[in-house]
Symmetry: C2
Subunit: 347 residues, 2 copies
């Protein structure tokens, strides 16, 4: 996923991982997240009977048909999913960016100097133009000050505390309720057919791992993402992993196949994305001989969610859209293919 | 695992990942590896009725006893294993180093300049003293020239081709037959009790992944190791991951808890090692509250395998040995605790 915020450019490279120096209140109540989906009797109930659904059902039938020409052993049934814009909403900004901005506001009382220092001043003033103007460097400063400087365990606590209270500006719901119901059904359907499902996201891995199991049914060891470096230390006889203000890995674009190899060690047979950041992941997955499935979520529903592709203000599905046509990657049209977008629409 | 070779020092840092420039013969026959172990009716049959075995059985009973004070949900039952010296033999040198030396010899006809160039000359002359004298820099040259410069798929083929023919100098058997039978039983026993078993090795991850599933029952996505960088490229319309002569991650000592967090994302509840390189992994695993198990394989059987610890020529189990006493990490005495060392002793 690539997008620009307002007229500036807040790219994936600059909106990564996860958080800074405030003490964690012990006994923080974790938010009630939606349950991991289980496989329904009828597969993909929130999908209309469209070409997209048929492509999924046909692919799964072929690779699971024992004795068939296209059979794939369960161990090799690896499916990878982008997160932002593929499994949950990414607008009006990446959820992780919203988190970073809120963290800056929460930390501001301890940093009076931020009132006159960019990019912090822009965040505190709510000046998105100025924030975008701070560029990649400014965004990286925001990420590091809000994502580094504490242990991993502390950071996970901060993330969960934030998710428990933050609300999406349009839908006024917790972000973890703004996951795509048809995609969680797809995850469950693949798992019910012997697949191992992985998230491969440009987002920060430690921002996702605390909640992906409960929300998507994807355990932390199956989440690949961008990361900052950590340092192991014994402190008062206790081992700690301390988060450093230094990038470790950027899991976007050409980084996605690299990350898939490094963190998973198997080549996927199915991949799902929604942007140019997912192009190489779909290439790596599908251009390998054998029956493979690559699909792109197309945000085409301004009423129920958002509509964007190409070089719009919000999204960037451009070269990958061309590649989809060339490589027979079915588009998932949110408007036409999905009966509902979000779980709360089910009532 | 740390050891020195002859009188020099070929440390883990310098004997990492995987291989160079020779073309792969298509249709290479992969070696017949031993089957992944399955859980026997009686657990740990190759273990004597010793304190070590009791420590394992007691730990597993406690964390799997539903309703018990020490119960751990299956999702959290993560066990991590070092490889060299913990799951298979590491003497007289790391298997991966033997691989690199053989590769230099195989590649030498294409590199006539190596006859007068260290460290290659030392390898070709079989001069281990001169090789050790080349130091970390020399070892890194060997690693890079033998592990980089091809695609990951090509490298996996080279590794399997080598394993099919290489023989251990003392036991005259394929290296994959020199795995510790009691430890493969332990892996299987833990899995039968709901554990996910991971390898966390200083060795190169791409050197291990092609065979760990068949030999240990550990799939590639559960192997963490050292790595060199890879680059994604489209070549003639085909996606490739190309291996670069640049270190990516060193999964040893303080790198092990960092790697565990980065690649697994859960804190283990059991860890098994055999050297100072495993110290921090055992600290990270066991010093976290709750019932935890950390164990060290102690090479105490010169007749059936090898005997070394402290600052001997071969091994380095020194600070970790002190820490074992302080932290109640049971030692696994290969001589006293194991009925057999290798699977072939079972006949």
């Amino acid at each position: 996923m690539k997008h620009s915020l307002a007229s500036g450019h807040l790219t994936r490279r600059t909106t990564l991982t996860g958080l800074a120096g405030l003490p964690i209140v012990a006994g923080t109540i974790l938010p009630a997240l939606s349950q991991a989906p289980t496989s329904p009797a009828t597969p993909l109930p929130s999908w209309n009977e469209s070409a997209s659904k048929r492509a999924i059902l046909d692919f799964v039938a072929r690779v699971t048909h024992q004795g068939g020409a296209d059979y794939v052993a369960p161990a090799e049934r690896v499916a990878v999913f982008d997160n932002d814009g593929t499994l949950w909403t990414e607008h009006p900004m990446y959820v992780q960016l919203a988190f970073a901005l809120d963290r800056v506001k929460a930390m501001a009382p301890l940093h009076p100097e931020w009132k006159n220092m960019q990019p912090f001043q822009a965040v505190l003033d709510g000046d998105m133009e100025a924030l975008a103007a701070s560029g990649e460097r400014g965004m990286m400063e925001l990420v590091m000050v809000t994502h580094a400087g504490m242990t991993n365990a502390e950071f996970a606590g901060i993330v969960m505390q934030w998710l428990a209270t933050a609300r999406h500006p349009r839908f006024q719901r917790p972000y973890t309720e703004l996951v795509y119901q048809p995609m969680t059904e797809l995850l469950a359907f693949l798992r019910a057919n012997g697949f191992k499902t992985f998230i491969v996201s440009g987002g920060g891995v430690e921002f996702m791992r605390p909640w992906t199991e409960r929300v998507y049914g994807v355990p932390p060891e199956q989440v690949v993402g961008s990361s900052i470096k950590t340092r192991f230390e014994m402190r008062d006889g206790r081992p700690e992993l301390f988060r450093l203000a230094e990038m470790n890995f950027i899991d976007d674009k050409i980084g996605k196949p690299v990350g898939i190899n490094e963190y998973i060690g198997r080549r996927p047979i199915a991949a799902f994305g929604n942007s140019d950041g997912d192009l190489e992941m779909l290439q790596w997955t599908t251009l390998s001989g054998g029956v493979r499935l690559g699909m792109l979520v197309h945000h085409a529903d301004a009423e129920r969610e958002y509509a964007y592709d190409r070089k719009t203000e919000f999204g960037r599905l451009d070269t990958a859209l061309n590649a989809a046509a060339a490589n027979n990657w079915p588009l998932i049209d949110m408007k036409k293919d999905w009966k509902v977008i979000f779980p709360f629409e089910l009532g």
